[in-house]
């Protein structure tokens, strides 16, 4: 049922203090279930496809063809974009070849309750953003993901919450699987890396080691970042590679020895490249 923005505002104002459904993961993060009907009904978020708006905010920006996957079709995507623009929640521009890009403005971020610094997607990162978005969409489309309803902790959320400096390497995302999820890997935290370009093997192996040996959350005191004896933060790292980066990643994984068993290497999903 399509509700108008006005009607939705009225509903939200009538119950301004409804809490969002959350769960606590093993690493202590609050998880919000996007599949829950109550999600996105907080005060001020008076749009349809609220989860798509939050998705776009999490991913820095999103191209319209990928947004269409979220909204269920190109037509509904254009309608959502139009509405968000009219509310001042989002802006669009043609930043790269292909469909236009959409990013969430300061008002939109405030409406979503997200404290990210608003910014237009950097041109140099567009390809990477698209790749990560495609990876997230592909993973979310699987039956196990829908059944387990894990939490996708995006890089923007990690960076904004903890104020990580640019020198620290952050994964492109973390996937927190709930402890009670009906999957064999319940309770795990995965690091997701999208590799488009070919780095050196040594640099890639160093990043892999850092990810696999990390024990603390990002932004924690340096003394807690990698403490011997504590269980690792990431049970495994998922590397999604372009064809050009694949050989480097495989060689870097081979350098890790037995530790490399916790590295999953896969191809980027179709449509991930700009």
């Amino acid at each position: 049922m399509a509700l108008s923005a006005r009607t939705k505002v009225t509903e939200s104002e009538s119950r301004p203090s409804l809490p969002k459904p959350t769960a606590i993961t093993r690493n202590g993060h609050k998880m919000t279930n996007r599949n829950n009907p109550g999600f996105g009904h907080g005060p001020g978020l008076a749009v349809r496809n609220a989860d798509a708006l939050v998705f776009a905010a999490d991913m820095y920006g999103i191209q319209l063809d990928q947004l269409a996957i979220l909204t269920g079709g190109e037509r509904s995507a254009r309608a959502a974009v139009s509405r968000w623009r009219s509310l001042g929640y989002a802006e669009t521009a043609r930043l790269s070849p292909g469909p236009p890009w959409l990013w969430v403005t300061r008002a939109g971020l405030a409406a979503c309750g997200l404290a990210y610094p608003p910014a237009q997607p950097a041109l140099s990162r567009l390809a990477h953003m698209r790749a990560v978005t495609a990876a997230r969409l592909a993973l979310e489309a699987t039956a196990a993901y829908r059944q387990a309803a894990p939490f996708w902790r995006c890089e923007r959320r990690i960076r904004s919450r903890h104020g990580i400096g640019k020198t620290a390497h952050l994964p492109d995302a973390e996937v927190h699987w709930p402890d009670e999820a009906p999957v064999a890997w319940a309770g795990e935290c995965w690091a997701v890396e999208a590799e488009l370009t070919r780095k050196t093997v040594a640099r890639t192996a160093a990043i892999m080691r850092e990810i696999l040996s990390r024990t603390g959350d990002y932004g924690c005191p340096a003394a807690d970042a990698a403490v011997p004896g504590r269980p690792p933060r990431h049970a495994r790292a998922l590397y999604l590679c372009s064809s050009g980066a694949l050989s480097t990643v495989l060689r870097a994984r081979a350098q890790l020895g037995p530790l490399g068993a916790r590295i999953e290497v896969r191809d980027l999903p179709p449509g991930a490249l700009l």
Binding site: A135, R236, P258, R262, R266, D267
Partner: protein, 676 residues
């Protein structure tokens, strides 16, 4: 009835009275002396009782007395240097001799009284002061005690009395042990056995208390020895609190025998961790190459994986950078062997018959040599090797290199290529990818190799053969100090007799640690068993086992005083009897049969030390569980139908998602197949 010196019979009553009087006089003398030196008597009684309670050997009491010597030295120095003249100038009236009176303050204030001197201090030259100090302290002690100053009296007598008392207690305890061990003590002939049993219980209790004390038994002692646990009892070995062996013994051959559930794995883990820690310390000092531990666990199955996980944890704490678990998480490359050695190993991996089968063996040797010594170099993988078993390819290759003898050999054996290729395809399918990777023993500080000796004996035998060849080849470089630990190797030693492994390792400078559940499990024949045990220069560790006899025989004998007692009518045993010396085994087989879990007898150079092993636990809270490999499922990257995978251009170990649950379900659906 006995007769006196003149031949007259002595009446039993008179004889008993005389004996009683003699005992009374002797007891009175002893009591008088003990009372006169009461502080020494008290310290001796306490130390002897403590030694009895803790089951200490007398040597430890002597050591405690020796540790008091610094106190005595300081006290004597103070006595010798005390300013007696200055004190007498102020306190003693003219013409009155100086006499130590102790620290009675009231006397010091009296006019014309002697000077106040500390106990033990008095006039005279230095040597006389030192010599007379104990006597003067003894006098002062009694003086103070007489006046009711008991604490001051105890302090006055302590410097000489404490070490003397502890030493005397040690002598008394030693005398008691000697009497009981020779059968001369106790009321009945059964008393020594009961005494020994109770002493063993107290010694075990003391050893366990030492294990429970935090930090009491570090992995390495300050002098770099490997501490295995707390000493329960030692025979012909130095009796210390902790049982420590030098690192050099771990670099020698050792044998470990123990039934299931007796703590063998705990002991082995301790020894391995000690080897690693001590070796790394020597490596850091620059005195030795980096250590390498290779474990061949020939049982296989889930229990071996659990042990491998424990080994990884304790070795990590011992300083090992990495522990590779083969073949679950890491692989080795058989193709790294030198070509001539590779041919021999490949032929050994295939079972041959005898008699007429020798012809086929020769044919196979010729064809394998052709494939390995091809002009383009030795094969780099199993697929490469199998692809070379082609008469046309070999003929073309050798012809291009101008080697027409090789061409002729390839053509003459053309009909046999298919058979040889088939046998090797079957072999590699069974062996899996563990020997076809890109790894080397240099890649890790420790390798835990799991051979499925129980489930697939034939495969495990071939794997054991290949692994030992690889290790031998690696050891020739001399880059590492290697300890090869083999557990239940006899189950896979059909193709490589363990004595051959032993001798080979000795030649290469490897230390071999052979462990088995029983004497029979050491080797296939008794001759081999004795050969292995007799050449264990690093010692034999014997846990509870039902048949310790052969090891006890190898441990040697010691002289033992055996005393008989005369039965005196119906009343009991009198004090007369006879003693004789005889040889008994150093290792008490009955004790070994009754050892508890975690207790081990360490036999070395004609002595034995009974040890309560300190359990070593890794600090890592949660480590990945090794995945149980399903041999029937085949190995990744290898097609059972023999399709050769693409040749690799870089060393790539066979990496599997071991230790984490398989998430292929969701990843395959989202991103397609895994990329290896």
């Amino acid at each position: 009835m006995r007769r006196g010196p003149a031949g007259y019979a002595v009446h039993p009553v008179r004889r008993a009275i005389a004996r009683g009087l003699w005992w009374l006089a002797r007891a009175a003398l002893v009591v008088a002396v003990a009372a006169a030196v009461a502080p020494v008597t008290l310290a001796a009684a306490v130390s002897a009782a403590f030694g009895w309670w803790r089951g200490w050997p007398p040597r430890r009491l002597y050591a405690a007395a020796a540790w008091c010597l610094p106190m005595v030295t300081v006290w004597l120095a103070a006595v010798a240097g005390w300013p007696v003249r200055a004190a007498s100038r102020f306190a003693a009236p003219p013409g009155q001799s100086l006499r130590p009176r102790g620290l009675v303050a009231s006397q010091a204030r009296l006019p014309g009284a002697s000077p106040v001197l500390p106990p033990g201090v008095g006039p005279g030259p230095v040597w006389f002061r030192v010599a007379a100090a104990p006597y003067r302290a003894w006098l002062a002690m009694w003086h103070l005690a007489w006046h009711g100053h008991l604490l001051a009296a105890a302090i006055a007598a302590a410097p000489p009395a404490v070490p003397l008392g502890i030493g005397a207690g040690g002598l008394a305890w030693a005398y008691r042990i000697f009497r009981m061990q020779t059968g001369a003590g106790g009321l009945t002939p059964a008393a020594p056995a009961a005494f020994d049993e109770r002493l063993w219980r107290r010694q075990v209790r003391t050893a366990k208390a030492l294990l429970a004390a935090p930090g009491a038994l570090p992995l390495l002692s300050p002098n770099g020895h490997v501490v295995t646990g707390a000493t329960i009892r030692s025979v012909r070995h130095r009796a210390g609190r902790s049982a420590a062996i030098p690192y050099t013994r771990l670099r020698s051959h050792q044998v470990v025998i123990g039934s299931t559930g007796t703590g063998k794995t705990t002991l082995l883990l301790r020894l391995w961790a000690g080897f690693m820690a001590a070796g790394l310390r020597r490596y850091a000092d620059g005195t030795a190459p980096r250590p390498l531990l290779v474990v061949l666990d020939c049982k296989g199955g889930a229990s071996s994986r659990k042990v491998a996980d424990r080994a990884r944890r304790v070795l990590r704490d011992a300083g090992a950078r990495s522990t590779a678990i083969w073949p679950d998480e890491a692989s080795l490359s058989l193709w790294a062997l030198p070509p001539d050695r590779l041919v021999t190993t490949l032929l050994d991996l295939i079972e041959h018959g005898t008699g007429g089968a020798a012809y086929y063996t020769d044919v196979m040797e010729a064809l394998v040599s052709l494939a390995v010594f091809a002009p383009c170099g030795p094969p780099a993988s199993a697929a490469d090797f199998l692809a070379r078993l082609d008469a046309d390819w070999l003929s073309a290759t050798y012809a291009a290199a101008g080697d027409f003898a090789g061409v002729a050999t390839a053509r003459s054996g053309k009909r046999a290529f298919e058979d040889v290729s088939l046998r090797f395809r079957a072999l590699w399918r069974r062996l899996g990818a563990g020997l076809d990777g890109g790894g080397s023993f240099a890649d890790a500080d420790a390798w835990y190799c799991i051979l499925e000796g129980t489930a697939e004996a034939a495969v495990a035998e071939a794997q054991a053969r290949a692994l030992t060849d690889l290790l031998a080849s690696y050891a020739t470089g001399g880059h590492r100090e290697i300890l090869l630990a083999v557990d239940e190797f006899s189950s896979v030693s059909r193709r490589l007799p363990i004595w051959q492994l032993y001798e080979r390792a000795r030649a290469l400078g490897l230390a071999v640690q052979v462990s088995a559940q029983s004497w029979e499990g050491l080797a296939a024949s008794d001759d081999e068993r004795y050969r292995i045990a007799a050449t264990a220069e690093g010692g034999i560790w014997l846990l509870r086992t039902p048949r310790p006899g052969p090891v006890a025989e190898l441990a040697g004998t010691r002289s033992y005083v055996d005393t008989s007692r005369r039965l005196d009518g119906a009343g009991g045993w009198d004090g007369s009897g006879s003693s004789r010396t005889r040889l008994v085994p150093v290792l008490d087989a009955d004790i070994v049969r009754q050892l508890d879990v975690g207790q081990v007898a360490y036999v070395y150079r004609g002595g034995v030390t009974y040890v309560q092993v300190k359990r070593l636990t890794g600090r890592q809270a949660a480590l990945a569980q090794a995945a149980v490999r399903d041999p029937a499922a085949g190995a990744p990257g290898w097609a059972p139908d023999g399709d050769a995978p693409a040749a690799r251009t870089w060393p790539l170990p066979a990496v599997r998602a071991a230790g984490v649950p398989d998430a292929s379900e969701v990843l395959d659906e989202a991103f397609g197949a895994r990329r290896d």
